[in-house]
């Protein structure tokens, strides 16, 4: 296991990456001024300096204990795993002891009132996946197994909230019982828009067979067959690109309307039920039609999971379509092992990944709306891959819920990953999703969110001077 000092340095580096994306330049500079110390609890408590002392080495249970909420910058922070107010004279708790945000000593030492260090390290080091071994049929950690999901905490961007608190603290905005405000220190929230190009051709045999199956399936429950599915069989026989390839260009035009950009993750290589159904010609055509201001990345095929040779073969084919060097991607079916896969990505030249997420739930799988470089806790190696966990996928976007999460990020800072498949953008086969992407973009535009491409995020992070 990595020793706490090294973990602290790594966590601090992740704070810096997200500061650069979400806070003013002045904020980034001030964060470097040694105003935050990571110390064992006893040392933190004994410190008598006007700094923020983050206790390390305090064990946290895997199941989050007793969450509470604290007002902060026009929203609320959700905290868990309480750290009690140190005993001894000079310590006070704010804003109130029942729902504390920080403890302050009269000398100016400030302690977060929750186990900030362990909570964040647990999430960013994939503790749930390491300690709970259950996997689904695709080899993925199941949502239902997540203790944070069971505790209703998967929609808490705990990392962002912690960073917002630390910024408020170093700017001395944590002054007693009043609600800390940091609006002047925040940059507009960032969104990274992506499209997993699973299906570009709606008339392939597998897609049509699945359609026929779904048309008939209600009969097994004594319900009327799904006529909508039946209708789309001839529609896509006659016009196979409708609602798929055509949608890719439609989304691009819609993004252009809002001055947004996106990355198209291309699924090519092996075909089949879980593979690339359209063939290389249509994938190549899409790559060549994507304008220069957008980005092309790789949607890692199902059979490349853990297979470096197949992975490189698929990547080379995309680059051969004219995409240029591919440096970003996401796994098809989110078939991705965060404990093993980063090694493969790094060795394959992928520097930006968005695979970590849940296909059935919008939330923060690692407790972060932002980027981090994964650390291997066994070896202490930091992978040179920037992970932006997927927050939203088309089917998981709930009206009301999406807006609430984005609004919260505007108040604490962050970068959100939003995935919309071409086949769900404007497809009368799935009428409940029609208009959803536009509504999401419109909302983001309305609150001033800015879109970034993976290569732009990398440029920001790579451009940071070493700490």
């Amino acid at each position: 296991m990595v020793e706490p000092g090294r973990l602290a340095a790594w966590l601090h580096a992740q704070f810096r990456h997200n500061l650069a994306l979400g806070f003013t330049n002045e904020c980034v500079r001030r964060f470097e001024a040694n105003a935050i110390r990571y110390l064992p609890l006893a040392e933190a408590v004994a410190l008598r300096q006007p700094v923020v002392a983050v206790p390390t080495g305090v064990p946290a249970p895997l199941e989050p204990a007793g969450a509470w909420r604290v007002p902060f910058n026009g929203t609320s922070l959700t905290l868990w795993n309480r750290i009690a107010c140190p005993e001894g004279p000079g310590w006070s708790t704010f804003p109130v002891p029942d729902t504390p945000l920080f403890h302050r000593h009269e000398s100016g030492t400030l302690l977060p009132a929750w186990n900030l260090f362990a909570n964040l390290c647990d999430m960013l080091l994939f503790r749930e996946e390491r300690e709970l071994t259950k996997r689904d049929e695709h080899g993925r950690f199941p949502l239902a197994s997540s203790p944070r999901y069971k505790a209703g905490l998967l929609r808490v961007p705990a990392f962002n909230e912690a960073l917002a608190f630390l910024v408020a603290a170093i700017y001395e905005r944590c002054a007693g019982a009043s609600e800390p405000r940091i609006d002047d220190l925040l940059l507009p929230p960032k969104i990274v828009l992506s499209h997993d190009c699973d299906i570009l051709h709606g008339g392939d045999r597998i897609t049509q067979a699945i359609r026929l199956f779904n048309f008939l399936r209600p009969l097994t429950r004594a319900r009327a067959p799904n006529l909508r599915k039946l209708w789309h069989i001839p529609v896509n026989m006659v016009a196979p690109r409708r609602h798929y390839f055509d949608n890719a260009t439609g989304m691009l035009e819609l993004e252009r309307q809002y001055a947004y950009r996106s990355v198209f993750y291309i699924l090519n290589g092996t075909g089949g039920r879980f593979g690339a159904r359209g063939g290389p010609e249509i994938s190549g055509e899409l790559v060549r039609s994507i304008p220069g201001g957008w980005e092309v990345g790789m949607h890692y095929n199902y059979d490349t999971f853990g297979d470096s040779a197949r992975f490189l073969e698929q990547k080379a084919e995309i680059e051969g379509f004219g995409a240029g060097p591919v440096t970003s991607g996401r796994a098809h079916y989110l078939r991705f092992d965060p404990l093993q896969s980063f090694r493969l990505l790094q060795s394959s030249g992928i520097r930006f990944d968005e695979s970590v997420g849940y296909a059935e739930y919008a939330g923060y799988r690692c407790g972060i709306a932002g980027v981090f470089k994964p650390l291997d806790p066994a070896t202490g190696t930091v992978h040179d891959v920037l992970e932006l966990p997927m927050t939203f996928m088309d089917r998981t976007i709930e009206p009301g819920g999406f807006e609430a999460m984005v609004k919260h990020i505007r108040r604490v800072g962050g970068t959100l990953s939003i995935l919309y498949h071409p086949g769900t953008f404007h497809n009368t086969e799935e009428p409940e999703l029609v208009g959803g992407y536009h509504a999401a973009l419109r909302y983001c535009h309305g609150i001033g969110a800015e879109s970034l491409l993976p290569r732009e995020v990398l440029r920001v992070v790579d451009g940071m001077a070493p700490a």
């Binding site: 055509d246 949608n247 260009t249 439609g250 035009e253 819609l254 252009r256 309307q257 809002y258 001055a259 304008p291 201001g293 953008f425 404007h426 029609v434 208009g435 536009h438 509504a439 419109r442 535009h445 309305g446």
Partner: protein, 371 residues
């Protein structure tokens, strides 16, 4: 009751009054974009309010808009945000606000105040005339296009009406498709390509649009908005409601036409503005056809159920746009709002201002929520 210009501190209250009445959620930032861009010499905003016992009960805005004709650029103002609290109607508060705004306009050099409204009575009483009604161009892609119009207006329809509107929508789709076939919709693209015209998406407002606006005014009779780059950026790209997408038509490296279009929240596409200036009318028609065709194609891929555009007068360029639109499957529907106008007696442009047929006006001059 007090009639005066709004103060900065009253913007939130004013905006809340409109939101409460119309059931909208316009933000203060959107209000400021629309009304606070142009200031009077003393820094005040040309937005009149009526205040009674500390509460705003009436509003009326003027948005200064520069027009251009062959003789140069001059100032007009768009009438917007008319609202009287229902409990205060019948007291001629509208006339009182306009008494103030007429003076503000006169002192500011505004030659004409104009707008679009169904509220004819109040405007007539205040001295405005109604020279025309707007009409519409419609290209239908989906049977849902007419229902989307009601969604936009915030109203829902009973099931039978939905079926009827759906049937009418299907007829509109069939009609648009037939129109495209009969009019040979690809002809402008072929002719344009032969003439060396290419259409390109624009990610930013090109500075050359200012020159295009000057050339248009020199070539076509009458008056139109002065579409300089700054105005286009404000109105189209900095629009906090729905920014417009832009396509430019180029002959060689020269901008010879531009179209602005949006997909709105209800899934309807709008042609917000279109203008072209080429060697002759036939080439203008070709370029407009290319731009409308390309914009419509892109709107369709974006998920638009239809594309709508306004037509305000029988200005020759308006007529040309209608002709070109027909080739792309648009129908011309004579339904719309009244055009309202007040021309100053002292203006030296009385002839064109008082003859609506000399006005080339598009959706560019609407309230801004859909471009």
């Amino acid at each position: 009751m007090e009639v005066r210009l709004i103060q900065e501190s009253e913007i939130d209250e004013c905006n809340a009054m409109h939101n409460a009445y119309y059931g909208k959620n316009r933000t203060a930032a959107q209000w400021r974009w629309e009304f606070a861009r142009w200031r009077l010499p003393d820094g005040s905003i040309p937005y009149a309010i009526v205040q009674d016992a500390g509460r705003i009960v009436g509003t009326q805005a003027l948005i200064p808009i520069r027009f251009i004709d062959a003789d140069g650029v001059f100032l007009t103002a768009k009438s917007e945000d008319t609202l009287i609290d229902p409990g205060y109607r019948g007291k001629n508060l509208f006339g009182s606000m306009y008494e103030l705004l007429f003076r503000v306009a006169r002192e500011g050099g505004v030659q004409c105040i104009w707008g679009f409204t169904p509220a004819r009575g109040a405007f007539t009483k205040a001295g405005f005339d109604f020279p025309a009604d707007t009409s519409q161009l419609l290209l239908a892609f989906s049977p849902a296009c007419l229902l989307d119009n009601f969604t936009q207006q915030g109203s829902s329809q009973p099931p039978l009406k939905r079926v009827l509107y759906g049937a009418a929508g299907m007829a509109a789709v069939a009609g648009s498709a037939m129109q495209r076939i009969l009019q040979s919709s690809s002809k402008p693209q072929r002719e344009g390509a032969a003439a060396g015209i290419r259409v390109a998406a624009l990610d930013a407002v090109p500075e050359e649009v200012t020159d295009l606006s000057h050339r248009f005014a020199a070539r076509w009779p009458g008056i139109t908005i002065f579409r300089d780059a700054a105005f286009y950026r404000w109105r189209l790209r900095d629009n906090p409601h729905t920014p417009s997408s832009l396509l430019g038509a180029y002959a060689g490296g020269k901008l010879v036409g531009i179209v602005a279009f949006v997909l709105n929240r209800s899934g309807m596409g709008f042609i917000v503005d279109v203008i072209a200036c080429n060697a002759d009318e036939a080439l203008d028609r070709t370029v407009i056809g290319m731009l409308l065709g390309e914009a419509s194609t892109r709107l369709r891929t974006m998920g638009a159920s239809c594309v709508r555009a306004w037509s305000v007068s029988d200005h020759p360029f308006d007529q040309l746009v209608r002709q070109a639109a027909k080739t792309q499957g648009f129908f011309h529907l004579k339904r719309g709002h009244g055009v309202v106008r007040y021309t100053r007696d002292a203006t030296d442009r009385a002839a064109p201002l008082n003859d609506i047929r000399q006005w080339y006006v598009t959706r560019l001059y609407s309230e801004g929520t859909d471009g």
